[in-house]
Amino acid sequence: MEFRTDRPIYKQIVDYAFGCIIGGGWRPGEKVPSVRELAVSLAVNSHTVLKAYDQLQLQGIIISRRGMGFYLADDAPERVHAGQREEFFESTLTGVFESMDNLGISIDEIVARYENFRAAR
């Protein structure tokens, strides 16, 4: 997998996991690749995969079963959706808010443009 430089690697791995879940490659309730297996298949170092798995665990998307590895939660697809929303608020939106502050753009301007965007659809 080729990684971008503008986003932390572990987040790109989380994105990759989301892709596997939504795409059906990882099935709910089934075992997912171990940290080392995923590290080798993505050719990335293990601790980054571990960090990604930590986040996925926090979001309840994967569950660690002692001695057996990581398993996908049964409601994983819904949790992925929730995770993607959280990622948007945490990363994308924070970046937008920073730029708004720097450029002196008000929230009303944003609301107005959003309404135009929806109307054009």
Binding site: T5, P8, A43, E98
Partner: protein, 280 residues
């Protein structure tokens, strides 16, 4: 574990190549970064037992490579950037030279060669430099030494080969192996590194795990100057900065920026932050 204790080394002319290097490298993939002439090749030579330390010590698993004991040497392999096999082809090399290395895995050699599009029966003398390098890398990984030293492995490789190199290193390196990849350019292997050592003019300015870097520092690119940056550079219309602690909208570790920051000497806090908790 590979350790350097107060290691210093000078050429016969007296020029000090390495000055008081102190570090401990745990198993994993380590980046040895430094400009040409910084002392990387000398450090690798000392780790391989090729050179003997006059002042200070190098130790690998409790033994000094400079003593050149067979049990130590059969666990270490150094692929310098000018390494050449004296044998007809790589399989002959594996038979005559590889016989000294008990961990050699012939199956791994075959699959590595295949991944690079080689058969292993090509006459080494008739191969281009790039293809010979690939052959040697395939071989070095298949020797499975506990300490593998690679000098500029990506040098001379085309883009696809570099991608394959990354996959191959990730595949072939076991949990108990230590690999040191020495380079003056980052070259596409960034995401593999567990630790990084930064050598500048003979001094080891940094020796830290990438996990620590990700936790303690954030790397940000913005069209606006970045607030509270520990170090900042402009690149065209962009500002690249290093900030304290992870940023929610930051980017992956920018090794080049980190290198510039540390070598410039303008950001001593960065080294302090990374050294916190007694970790070096």
């Amino acid at each position: 574990m590979l350790t350097f204790q107060n290691l210093s080394y000078s050429y016969r002319s007296g020029y000090p190549v390495l000055k008081n290097v102190n570090a401990a490298v745990s198993p994993g993939i380590c980046l040895l970064l430094g400009e040409n002439g910084a002392g990387k090749t000398t450090l690798l030579g000392l780790s391989a037992g090729l050179l003997r330390a006059e002042r200070g010590a190098v130790e690998f698993d409790g033994a000094s490579p400079g003593d050149r004991l067979p049990s130590t040497m059969s666990d270490i392999f150094y692929l310098s950037d000018s390494w050449q096999s004296p044998f007809k082809d790589i399989y002959a090399t594996a038979r005559f030279h590889g016989a000294f290395y008990p961990n050699l895995d012939f199956d791994m050699l075959a699959s590595n060669l295949e991944a690079f599009g080689l058969t292993g029966h090509e006459k080494l003398k008739s191969l281009s430099l790039g293809m010979r390098r690939k052959t040697y890398i395939a071989y070095a990984l298949a020797l499975r030494p506990r300490l593998l030293l690679l000098d500029e492995p990506a040098n001379g490789l085309d883009i696809d080969s570099k991608k394959e190199l990354r996959r191959m290193v990730s595949r072939c390196i076991g949990d108990d192996q230590t690999v040191i990849i020495s380079t003056h350019t980052i070259a596409d292997l960034e995401v593999l590194y567990d630790t990084i050592m930064l050598l500048h003019k003979g001094e080891l300015l940094l020796s830290v795990s990438t996990a620590d870097i990700s936790e303690k520092l954030g790397f940000v690119t913005s069209s606006m100057p970045v607030q509270e940056a520990l170090y900042m550079e402009t690149e065209g219309a962009c500002f690249n900065a290093i900030v304290r602690a992870e940023s929610p909208y930051g980017s992956a570790i920018d090794f080049e920026l980190l290198y510039s920051a540390i070598v410039s000497g303008k950001a001593p806090e960065i080294i302090e932050i990374l050294k916190e908790d007694g970790k070096q």
